[in-house]
């Protein structure tokens, strides 16, 4: 992404729209606005676009790959000269008002310049490994890499810690095109912007905070997002859903509302988890045709036409649906299998059932709660989600509330119109 913020067609910089966050919501807002004919600057703090969606194996209800829609959106970005993408970039400060914002950006160093051809020689030569954030720490990756194999832009980046080491310097000579620059520094820049779309998305709720479920303490208790990575054939286990000891999986439980709808953790409903678990039963079924599956739930929330997806999953006779929020998980130390304990509320029967694998359907923590919009006058709800009250700075996707993909796209398309309205007002 060599391009700087040069506006096409000499459109006044003050009519440019800034989109913060390059996940599905931000991408959509950016391309939808650009395809109307507006100049858009899309900033993303990671080295690549795609956000959470890029980590998903499949979408519900079609069970299709998110990479397909992402590819189309990347094409739309590539082919549209009105969009400028700035990766590794964060918004430092926003001043001004609707139609006339001054925004300070910080572009963190990639340590690999735009000459990079993604040939991979540096990674081959690099011995240092770091936790693979993309795979939720399920694996390690080289300290220099492109993030994941579908990454866009497909350009390498180096971990900042590694860049400081002498090993990083050694890679300079390895690169055939002279792209490695361990001394690269952060850059600050200032932009003039008419309106801003805030689409910073979500982070999976930290399951280790849900103490009764013992994530991190009890073996073979995992999370739904980790299952997405495991089930992905380019994931850390080559597409296999696995236990930590590699033993066969015959009996899997999904625990809904793991952290959500719970005043101890996230009091709101994360909206997607019911459908995500239903979807994940198909991963399990595909890999383990005879596996027993249990879903523990409070209310099944397959809204509107997703109901058909629920019906489809319900047709799998190997799934038990238990209306119950499990009280806790115990460890069976010998078998390394978790025991789920609770009460089936429809029978009143208490259970203590052992599973080979327990999947916590964790919810969405809004990123915006930890990193609010660096502007004054913003309104947030009780959980840190952005209210859509402010004109000029428009929240969308999971920055405003838990959303599924198509809801995020819907809201982001709407956000593009609001941003354009701001520009229209600025024009007078």
């Amino acid at each position: 992404m060599a391009r700087r913020c040069v506006m096409a067609d000499g459109q006044a910089a003050s009519q440019t729209i800034l989109v913060v966050g390059g996940g599905m919501s931000g991408l959509t807002a950016a391309v939808e606005a650009a395809e109307v004919g507006r100049d858009v600057i899309l900033v993303e703090k990671r080295p690549y676009l795609g956000g959470r969606v890029a980590q998903l194996n499949k979408y519900f209800p079609k069970l299709c790959t998110p990479a397909c829609g992402l590819e189309i959106n990347y094409q739309r970005v590539r082919n549209n000269p009105r969009i400028t993408v700035l990766t590794l970039t964060e918004v430092q400060e926003i001043q001004g008002s609707e139609g006339d914002y001054t925004v300070r950006l910080r572009e963190n160093p990639r340590f690999v310049n735009e000459k990079c051809t993604a040939c991979g020689e540096c990674a081959k030569a690099c011995d240092a490994e770091v936790d693979d954030e993309f795979n939720f720490g399920l694996s390690k990756v080289k300290a220099v890499g492109n993030g994941h194999n579908m990454a866009y832009p497909n350009r390498y980046a180096m971990s900042p810690e590694f860049a400081k080491t002498p090993e990083a310097e050694k890679l300079v000579a390895v690169c055939p095109v002279g792209a490695i620059e361990p001394k690269m520094e952060a850059k600050e820049s200032t932009l003039h912007i008419s309106s801003i779309i805030w689409a910073t998305g979500w982070t999976p709720y930290d399951a280790s905070k849900i103490r009764p479920y013992g994530y991190g303490r009890i073996p073979n208790v995992t999370t739904n997002m980790r299952i997405e990575r495991m089930a992905n054939k380019f994931g850390p286990s080559g597409g296999k859903i696995v236990r930590d000891d590699g033993k066969e999986i015959k009996n899997v439980a999904f625990i809904q509302c793991a952290g959500s709808r719970d005043h101890n953790y996230l009091p709101f409903c994360s909206r997607i988890c019911c459908l995500a678990s239903m979807k994940q039963t198909t991963y399990v079924r595909e890999q383990f045709p005879d596996a027993k599956i249990t879903i523990y739930y409070i209310d099944l929330r397959a809204m509107d036409r997703y109901e058909a997806f629920q019906k489809k999953i319900e047709a799998d006779q190997g799934i038990r649906w238990i209306k119950s929020k499990p009280a806790r998980i115990d460890a069976d130390l010998e078998s390394r299998s978790p025991i789920v304990i609770g009460e089936d509320t429809l029978t009143g029967v208490r259970y203590a059932d052992k599973y080979d694998l327990v999947v916590l359907a964790t919810g969405m923590e809004p990123n915006i709660a930890a990193s609010p919009v660096p502007a004054s006058g913003m309104t947030y709800d009780a959980y840190g989600f952005l209210a859509n009250a402010t004109t000029g700075i428009v929240g969308t996707g999971c920055a405003t509330g838990p959303q599924d993909v198509s809801g995020s796209v819907q809201a982001s398309t709407a956000a593009a119109l609001k941003a354009i309205q701001s520009a229209a007002k600025a024009r007078g």
Binding site: H263, N264, K325, P326, G342, E343, T345, R350
Partner: protein, 196 residues
């Protein structure tokens, strides 16, 4: 007729933190958390739904509340933040007040007939008196039998100087004020109930 809310409204108003019962979403965490699960008839969540359904008799005659050991597992896990332990205690108290608690329920007897008297008669627990009274609650015969059953435990405690054999103990110094305070507290509590 179910779901007539008059009993529920009474509980909301008069029972200790009873108003929290409104907030239960019937997830079952409390039931799964309770160590006395194998023994009770109604889990906390069931009691709450019965309250909302207006089933006064079923609730107040249930011995489930008396199983509470105050372990607080339900409180810390309840996703709706219900102070379940206290609600259950409140329902037990309501059952006592309405005279609907099973008179034979052993924990009720211990709590109401023995323990409270024991502590309020002097200001502090008299362990020997407490134990004796509990054993002899049904008269001399069963008392001796219970005492014999627990003989070894008592002897062990005696030997290790952890049981004072003399049941009599003196009152705390400020007993008069202590008593007046409790009387006032009971009076205030009764007022709250009559306001319902």
């Amino acid at each position: 007729m179910a779901y007539d809310l008059s009993f529920a409204k009474e509980v909301y108003k008069t029972s200790e933190v009873g108003y929290w019962i409104k907030m239960c979403m019937q997830c079952g965490v409390c039931a799964g958390s309770c160590p006395l699960g194998p023994h009770w008839e109604h889990s906390p969540r069931q009691l709450f739904q019965l309250v909302r359904a207006g089933k006064m008799e079923e609730v107040l005659k249930s011995d489930s509340m008396w199983m509470c050991t105050s372990c607080y597992n339900c409180i810390v896990r309840c996703p709706r933040g219900l102070p379940i332990t206290h609600i259950v205690h409140g329902l037990a108290r309501l059952a006592v007040e309405k005279g609907m608690a099973d008179p034979k329920q052993p924990t009720r007897r211990f709590a109401v007939e023995v323990f409270w008297d024991n502590i309020t008669s002097t200001g502090r627990v008299g362990e020997a008196g407490l134990t004796m009274k509990l054993y002899f609650i049904d008269g001399i015969g069963p008392g001796i039998q219970r005492g014999l059953e627990m003989k070894n435990q008592a002897l062990g405690m005696l030997k290790t100087k952890r049981l004072n054999p003399i049941p009599f103990r003196s009152k705390i110094k400020g007993f008069a004020g202590f008593k007046a305070m409790l009387d006032k507290a009971f009076e205030l509590e009764a007022k709250k109930e009559s306001n319902a």
